[in-house]
């Protein structure tokens, strides 16, 4: 598989929703080959703590790509046919401009001087990256969770620039409960004395404990009660009886502590604040007089919406609302609800029904628009 890592430095600043201008760069990876007509490009949008390493080893964690089971040669998002682009989002911390980047005006790390970015700002920056490739129309935009929000924003704001869209395990707005969980995470970070009002980089400290707690709280929302029960139950960790203390007696405690501690090695605390805020602010219908269907009027985009039965962070009802809004404008929409006990995390796991839906949808869309140039049997 042809795989490249690169950085796009925009010569022009971007105007953000908050009104400020920002000079920025996006760090991105590509997989496969762009065809001469530039019709086979797929943009993949990562989730809150995801990255551009969708199908390649993350250089920090040395773990394989987060969608390596979905993206690659012969896989549902087939890099033998499609040119896959995945960029670290604006506000992120893996090479794209974010609060851990240097402010060109002051020469210091931004910290909380970084402007608040929105999902739309992230998409604006991505659209400039797509311009940079001289791609008029993306064959598809695909993403789960926060990535799914970006997919919906693309579909609403750049209608003529995408042929198809696959929003997975997502919603058209962040629910009150979701905002609540994010707020717990942010408060954990800000309550850590090492956070230092966001100036920890210049003071050479790190709010690792706060960020770890934020991750622990969030991680619970990514799993279902059933999957926790199945995986851990009330099993004890490395002991035969309870300790009558506050050690990690239970396996679930040990697991969460591990998740929290390993997260701080790869993620910037301020970036976590900014990205969770972007998700909280996301409400696609709000821009269209609170009418979600208006976001999709006259759309030619073919949609495949996917949700998971046990996902309580972005429950299937949220996805169904999007599908119904699309029906109201007679858009071409498929809605797949995958029966899975694994909760929100299911979209990153081995879910054959999701794989076959993505594969069937992309193949038939490629056929419909005649985009596969090599005359493959699509």
């Amino acid at each position: 598989m042809n795989h490249q890592s690169d950085i796009f430095i925009d010569s022009q600043p971007i105007k953000l929703d908050c009104g400020k201008q920002l000079r920025y760069q996006l760090s991105y990876d590509t997989y496969g080959t762009l065809n001469p007509n530039k019709t086979n490009a797929i943009l993949i949008c990562h989730a809150l703590t995801g990255d551009q390493y969708v199908a390649s080893t993350n250089p920090v964690t040395q773990k394989s790509g987060w969608w390596a089971n979905l993206v690659g040669p012969g896989l549902p998002i087939d890099t033998d046919k499609y040119f896959v682009i995945c960029a670290n989002v604006l506000g992120g911390c893996l090479g794209s401009t974010g609060p851990a980047s240097q402010n060109p005006d002051t020469g210091k790390i931004y910290g909380l001087d970084f402007p608040v970015v929105t999902v739309f700002d992230m998409v604006r920056a991505q659209a400039r990256l797509i311009d940079h490739f001289n791609i008029d129309r993306l064959f598809s935009v695909i993403g789960g969770s926060m990535g799914g929000m970006l997919v919906l924003e693309w579909a609403a704001s750049y209608k003529s620039r995408i042929l198809s869209a696959i929003p997975i395990a997502t919603g058209s707005r962040h629910s009150s409960q979701n905002i609540a969980f994010h707020e717990v995470g942010r408060q954990a970070i800000m309550a850590d004395p090492n956070w230092q009002s966001g100036n920890y980089h210049s003071l050479n400290t790190s709010p690792a404990k706060g960020l770890a707690v934020a991750r622990m709280a969030a991680h619970i929302t990514y799993m279902s009660d059933q999957s926790l029960q199945q995986k851990f139950g009330r099993n004890l960790q490395d002991r035969d009886s309870i300790s009558f203390g506050f050690d990690a007696d239970f396996q679930i405690e040990s697991y969460l502590r591990h998740q929290g501690m390993s997260f701080v090695d790869r993620f910037d605390a301020n970036s976590y604040l900014y990205l969770t805020r972007a998700m909280d602010y996301f409400d696609l219908a709000a821009k269209f007089d609170d009418s979600l269907m208006s976001a999709f009027i006259d759309t030619d985009i073919r949609f495949c919406i996917i949700s998971f039965t046990s996902d309580w962070l972005f429950p299937p009802e949220e996805s169904k609302l999007i599908a119904q809004a699309l029906n109201r404008v007679a858009a071409n929409v498929s809605y797949v609800e995958v029966n899975s006990p694994k909760g929100h995390d299911a979209f990153l796991l081995d879910e054959p029904e999701m794989f076959s839906a993505v594969s069937g949808f992309l193949t038939s869309t490629a056929q419909k628009y005649n985009i596969c140039d090599k005359g493959e049997n699509l």
């Binding site: 029906n327 404008v329 007679a330 929409v333 498929s334 797949v336 609800e337 069937g360």
Partner: protein, 204 residues
């Protein structure tokens, strides 16, 4: 058995549809009709199916399908969104066939409805001579487990169309094997020997 010989009714139904049109198939099942229409007639075909497992299989097969119920989910579509709205062997399982028909002709310029004829002689004789609710190839459930709650005869359906001010553009009556019934167009005969009927409808 090839699928063509198995489902003559789908081929006859597909014959009623003009190429390059927009179609919604309610109760699309495994998506056979959608596939046939997409492949042979360049049709923008969508499906609505009650069973989520069936929906997932259709999408994996490249079709545009979502989970939904004829009684509830047609409300989400705008007026005249489709050239044809199809309800194939499903009307007898809806809660309110009359309201479903009206909705079909609100969201579509044409409606195509096929249903098993409850007036045919096998059904009548089962009731008359065995004193039992009929179980035939097209009415395959016993009375206590059937999802079919609103049976009608071909005559009943014509009367409903008249009452709802719906225009019948075409009618095809099928025999037990799903082939076109070639009888004199005399109502009683069709009603007595027709195993199923397909109606092409429009607003008046």
């Amino acid at each position: 058995m090839s699928f063509e010989s198995q489902r003559f009714d789908l081929l006859l139904l597909a014959d009623m549809i003009a190429p390059n049109s927009r179609v919604l198939d309610i109760g699309c099942g495994d998506g056979r009709l959608l596939k046939l229409l997409t492949k042979n007639k360049n049709i923008d075909a969508r499906g609505l199916e009650l069973d989520q497992t069936g929906v997932n299989a259709c999408v994996a097969d490249g079709l545009s399908v979502m989970q939904g119920n004829a009684d509830v989910d047609l409300a989400y579509y705008p007026d005249n969104a489709f050239d044809y709205v199809i309800l194939s062997k499903t009307i007898q399982a809806t809660q309110r066939p009359d309201l479903v028909l009206k909705e079909m002709l609100r969201i579509g310029k044409h409606a195509i409805v096929s249903f098993p004829n409850f007036g045919q002689w096998r059904v009548i004789s089962s009731l008359a001579f065995k004193s039992q609710m009929p179980v035939t190839k097209n009415l395959e459930y016993t009375w206590y487990e059937t999802p079919n709650v609103h049976f009608c005869t071909i005559t009943d359906f014509r009367i409903l169309c008249h009452d709802l001010d719906i225009k019948i553009l075409d009618t095809v009556i099928l025999n037990k094997r799903g082939q076109k019934l070639k009888l004199p167009a005399w109502m009683g005969m069709n009603n007595l020997f027709g195993d199923q009927a397909i109606f092409l409808l429009s607003k008046k």
